[in-house]
């Protein structure tokens, strides 16, 4: 990240060069450079949606892939996500103004008794990086809190996270309550966390277990597309 290469002047790069540079700067978690890049592209007449997808989302996809492959770890991903967030902060109002297409909406939170939010934060950030709208309920969520948020927000996806063996069974409590209330089929339920695995996800009645934040984004895209296809069929 260090750099003696101050000679790169973002505003002098062509659009293609600048976008590639932004992918690198996201990878390196360079917040100010990302803000500058976003502003330059907007000033050059790019639509906010193009800036989001071609510069930010594409850049975060590389970060996600390297995280999945064990090349990047949590500290680097947090820095990258932070830079992405700074770019999103500029784009958000513009996206609303221009009526850009939406990927979908997710309500996410760590289950009751669990304070761990690192993985959950990564998922929330990567989902935003992929263009999803995310409502983060934070840590220690009771079944009541999840349901209240689902009813108020009407998201496509419910994401639950747990890092402890002592808290992971609580996911089933939430899913069982959704079933009792006849709400289970209204949402795509994704679960994740270090002690979980695919079989556990299936056993408790989730739609899918996501091994990491990058997989969560890919899985969310697949399920949302499937849901839309079903609706239009």
């Amino acid at each position: 990240m260090a750099d003696d290469n101050d000679e790169i002047i973002l505003s002098e790069l062509s659009d293609d060069e600048l976008v590639l540079q932004m992918h690198d700067d996201l990878y390196d978690g360079m917040k100010e450079e990302i803000e500058e890049g976003v502003n330059i592209l907007i000033a050059r007449g790019w639509t906010p949606y193009d800036v989001l997808t071609k510069a930010l989302v594409a850049g975060m996809t590389i970060v996600g892939a390297d995280f999945r492959d064990g090349i990047l770890f949590v500290p680097e991903v947090l820095l990258a996500a932070n830079a992405m967030k700074a770019g999103m902060f500029i784009l958000k109002p513009l996206l609303v103004e221009t009526g850009a297409p939406r990927m979908g909406k997710m309500v996410i939170g760590t289950v009751k008794g669990d304070i761990h939010d690192i993985g959950k934060n990564l998922v929330a950030m990567m989902m935003e990086g992929a263009g999803f709208e995310v409502l983060d309920l934070g840590i220690n969520n009771s079944v009541e809190k999840y349901i209240e948020a689902l009813e108020a927000e009407k998201p496509d996806i419910l994401g639950m996270s747990a890092l402890l063996t002592t808290t992971m069974p609580y996911m089933k409590v939430v899913i069982d309550t959704l079933k009792e209330k006849g709400m289970r089929e209204d949402y795509i339920v994704l679960v994740g966390g270090a002690p979980l695995n695919e079989e556990f996800g299936k056993a408790i009645g989730a739609d899918a277990y996501c091994r990491d934040a990058a997989v969560a984004v890919e899985t969310a895209k697949v399920y949302v597309a499937r849901k839309h296809n079903q609706l239009s069929a």
Binding site: D3, G70, F73, I115, S142, M168, P169, F200
Partner: protein, 335 residues
């Protein structure tokens, strides 16, 4: 050399630690989402039974029910004002069981992570982390813990903060990290870099190693990574009994006692001197492990192939050490 762990280490070439805390307490009726530490006060007989089961299964060391007993974790349950009390009682119950066992059994005061991220990515400062760990350490010390047992750590900063807290409390300590992400910790620490980190501390631990993580095979790969560094410091191996599965409303780990016995012997051959289990490891696993450690001869240092053949495959192709160190690097435009 006055502490019980140092004495045992000087007379025995391997020691057996305990198994799971959470999994065992669930079987006693702990409900998901409730903090196990409150049981030190509310259900002390269950905690006594947890400790006694480990001792009766042959453990030389057992961990106190205080993993989440720091202010940051207890705050979730409005119990942040009870750090000293909950830790003191966790250790005092342990003292009671250890002292009535008729042999030397080490009461290890469990100290788990705060769950927070350090500056600059997160908001936790070194000073605050030291303060929280120190508060917990004083409680464990007051209850009579022989050593502090820092476990499931991911970040180097948190490991250092816990070391400093042990120094402030004047306690000997042990420390293990959880290597659960492509053979490294979540924060990217490799087995080799933990060895480095440990040796650079002003008050290094009596023993260090790995706990929890993914499965027995990954854990053994990590232990091989530690011993490859040529460290003289005792190595701890506390792996999960397989992977968690959900059956009839409760979690069950799929590792059999026979598998864990094999794991224990392999961990010793790989260079570990303190061997125990983590999540899913029940008294029947511990008994099988103890028997294997006592009856089976030492073998050669196992190869990675031998580990994966006996324990199942690894969760990732590499773990960032040896020939693979720093292998995949992306070509940068800047810098």
């Amino acid at each position: 050399m006055t502490d019980a762990l140092s004495r045992l280490l000087s007379t025995r070439d391997w020691l057996m630690a305990d198994g799971a805390t959470g999994t065992n307490l669930f079987n006693m009726g702990l409900s998901s989402g409730e903090p196990p530490e409150l049981w030190n006060i509310d259900q002390p007989d269950n905690i006594r039974a947890l400790y006694r089961n480990a001792v009766e299964a042959g453990s030389d060391i057992f961990l106190t029910n205080s993993f989440g007993g720091n202010a940051s974790r207890l705050k979730l349950h409005g119990a942040e004002g009870r750090v000293h009390e909950l830790n003191r009682v966790a250790a005092a119950l342990g003292r009671e069981i250890a002292d009535s066992s008729g042999r030397t059994v080490v009461v290890a005061g469990s100290v788990g992570p705060t769950g927070e991220i350090f500056e600059p990515m997160g908001s936790l400062t070194h000073a605050r982390a030291v303060e929280m760990f120190h508060e917990q350490a004083e409680g464990l010390k007051a209850g009579g813990a022989d050593v502090l047992w820092v476990e499931t750590i991911s970040a180097a900063e948190e490991f250092r903060a816990a070391a400093e807290a042990a120094r402030l409390a004047g306690m000997p300590w042990c420390g293990t990290m959880s290597f659960d992400t492509a053979g490294r910790t979540m924060m990217g620490i490799t087995s080799a870099s933990l060895v480095d980190l440990v040796e650079k501390l002003p008050n290094p631990p009596l023993a260090f190693g790995a706990n929890c993580g993914v499965g027995a095979s990954d854990l053994l790969r990590t232990v091989l990574g530690f011993s490859a560094q040529g460290t003289e410091r005792p190595i701890i191996a506390k792996g999960n009994a397989g992977i968690p599965k959900y059956h009839d409303g409760h979690i069950h780990y799929d590792g059999t006692p026979a598998l864990m016995a094999e794991y224990a012997v392999m961990a010793r051959d790989a260079g570990a001197r303190i061997i125990g289990g983590c999540c899913g490891t029940m008294p029947e696993h511990l008994k099988a492990m103890r028997e294997a450690l006592e009856t089976r001869p030492r073998g050669p240092r196992p190869s990675l192939e031998a580990v994966s053949q006996a324990m199942g495959g690894f969760s990732s192709a590499t773990d960032g050490t040896g020939d693979d160190a720093g292998a995949p690097v992306r070509k940068r435009r800047r810098g």
